[in-house]
Symmetry: D5
Subunit: 118 residues, 10 copies
């Protein structure tokens, strides 16, 4: 699945770039579609990152996560794609993205992606 370059993720300058620190988000209102059946999927998306020059603006992150509402995508792919888009927009020193999906077929799935700046 090709990565949408930035998808409207707005940033602002890191107010304390001289220090490594962590910003964590928990977004329980995520929904997309199953690409096989078209049925809705639901997840909590958890993001943690250490900013370098840029921080993500909260409202644009909300709109970014909403943008998946009508899109078909697998659990593994969408979690990696959110990570890729945040890396492209923020170039963070560290990034962690977790997609914590609801039960399907009696099984709960969680996908966990990490990125460290080279």
């Amino acid at each position: 699945m090709p990565t949408v370059p930035n998808r409207e993720l707005q940033t602002f300058p890191n107010p304390n770039p001289e220090r490594d620190y962590e910003i964590a988000f928990e977004a329980p209102e995520f929904t997309c579609l199953c690409p096989m059946t078209g049925q809705p999927d639901f997840a909590t998306i958890r993001i943690r990152y250490v900013p370098d020059a840029k921080c993500v603006e909260l409202k644009s992150l909300k709109l970014y996560l909403w943008s998946y509402r009508d899109e078909g995508t697998f659990h593994e792919a969408v979690t990696n794609r959110i990570a890729n888009d945040l890396v492209a927009a923020l170039e963070p020193r560290y990034l962690y993205v977790e997609g914590d999906f609801f039960v399907r077929g009696g099984i709960k799935t969680v996908v966990k992606v990490e990125h460290r700046k080279a």
Copy 2:
């Protein structure tokens, strides 16, 4: 106990093989039989793995876990066997399987198996 080679575990190509990331499943609907008494045993099976070239398809994993329903097997053996079958099917970079069994004789048993690619 001989390992059943693959037991119908279907796979699909890892969409992000360039990155180490973790996929975790929790399956609370596992049941097998006690090989001594024939009585049912119940467990939650937890799986976490870092895919290499292949990911396990969720529906085939569900069917794979159901396949133990009428089979007699000890706690230690079945947890190792699920790990072996997933290693054979996925050749993952890392795999963890946990069998979290219900109380028997006033004692709760949990078996935890790890595999790392050489």
Copy 3:
């Protein structure tokens, strides 16, 4: 669905019939089959009753609940049937049966049945 008359529920005489008191069981190891698809269903069965002349013997209750393992039955029907079988075997002053089933299609189902002696 016809009620199996007693299905091996063993009883013993109530040691304190002169008093109303409650006996409660929680059995998290219940499984049956979906009559439509043949797929396994899982539930916790909770039973509370006020005995009259007879109490149910614990081991026979365990075997009774196990007897559904290979039987196809709907959530609503099986909970009522367990209640009916206990009423037939125990003739209790009061009975409550709850079938607390695992998530299917993103929805959790609980069925709650009460019986009071006329």
Copy 4:
């Protein structure tokens, strides 16, 4: 808001109409839109009912709840409407519907509706 008469709620005959008993559903995967802003809203819908002649079929309930995904509706209105549609489809002896919505503006909202057959 006019009530959509039935909206595809399928029913099956109550297997035990001679007895009052309760069927409870918890559906945490509910989403609709805010009619003012078009932004997504999320809720857990809880339903409890005492069936009379008809029970609601689980898969059609899932599809019914999904049907709100692209519809703008207020918290108070949608919870009443789900209740009205279930009353129309099932004519239950008793019905309770709860819409438990996520935080908006720092405030969590829960709407609780009851219906008793005359």
Copy 5:
């Protein structure tokens, strides 16, 4: 303490006045000042009501609760006053207001007010 008549509580017509149903809010972001010391107090305000002709609009409720930020008021008085203002604005069939305050002097205080329409 005189009651501020309405303090900007906006209402909208109850969409289902033919039925008694409950609307519940939990607002953990409440703060006012201690009238003795001028020090900040913090509380969670919980509101439950059965609407008659009018429902309270959520955004105006948020602004109403914020309006206490710079006001000195005792725990008992402010909880009653919120109740009085909601009664004046909504004329509800039933209203419950709970002020759940943080520990002061090693003691936690909760004030609970009910109103029923005559």
Copy 6:
């Protein structure tokens, strides 16, 4: 099972007999033997009573509960017997005894007995 008349339950005069009030105990350190197999059983015993003229002395209650350590007795019988012994020793206005036993055969059992003074 014959009731041991008092079994060393010491009492002291109720300091406030002019008022109905409740005294509640939770004793998680209860063990007895299964009369069928001789195997140990474990339970939490919960007692609540409204004293009339007499209160039970805590240390003697501890010793009384310990006295079952080497005695074979069924769940239903022992809970009723504890209730009977407390009624005999205290003649309370109200008494509740709960025996909350550990899992046996995958099933947890709780027995609940109430007594009200005639």
Copy 7:
């Protein structure tokens, strides 16, 4: 044990005497002495009351509860005495006092006292 008449409980006029409402306190920092052994006892004291003309001032309640620090008193007696002192000072429409004591001899004790105005 004679009741100390008021023991410094300060009151202020009920700001809303035209309405029944409840004020609840939870005070986990209570300690007194065992009158038999002189050893410290610890408890959480919970108070709920419906004021009539008077409310208890929070700081004086804190000092009142501290006054038991060096006093020997039984669990049953001290809980009743706190209730009696609050009744004497407040003449409330309703009062509930709960003394929730730490484990002694493997048994936890809770004493619950209610008072209703004649």
Copy 8:
């Protein structure tokens, strides 16, 4: 945002400077204003530090945290600033500050800052 040098943080000499040990505070009563909209924000502030020569006095820390009540500041900036002010006042061997903010736009934010003495 310029750092206010000390903002009244009072200190006292570390009573045990010969040893590394940790002092941790949890302050759930923090509120400031959003610099964009002027609306109140709420957070729990968690602080952990290893003192060197100086410890922070608890009452001055309370007053320091209250001083943000009428100040507009972003989540990331205020958490760093609290850390900077504590570093300036205490010169600690280690410091951790966490700002755990309430949900905004369906997303919860936590900012975590660490400082180690050079």
Copy 9:
């Protein structure tokens, strides 16, 4: 206290000796006697081990733990002794034993023992 060599711990061959994996038990039904006073003590025993050639058989472990019922032993000693007996019987690659005892004198005690194969 001399270690009883094996005390009937039965073993079976490790089904997967080629791999390090962990087997964990939680046994909340442990009781022994205080060697000073003869009064009963209660604990939860937690065991985790990495088997080498031998695994412990669950039923014999249950009987082994029951064997302490009438034996006087201190918390520290009995936890070490269980560890020693398991080491003697299993020669495990790693062993952890935890004795988590109930409150005595207002203090809860937990003893934690580890063994690693040389």
Copy 10:
């Protein structure tokens, strides 16, 4: 604050000195006085240590902790002092003491001290 040399901490010989193992205590019944105001402070004291030649006797530990009941001492100082006294009495291989104090001024304080034998 000068350290009271031993303050009656009784010891007994470590029954297993050949092995490093941990003994942990949790004592929720700790109270002392604020040295500024004379008001009571309350805490849970948690202790973990690896014994060398000596173990602390539980009853003397209880009496030792009670000895602070009438003593004025700051949170930081008393936690270090308990650690110092235990080090002096036990000369342990490792020691951890945590003083977990109740809320004062809306802020909870925890002090954590570690000691390792040179």
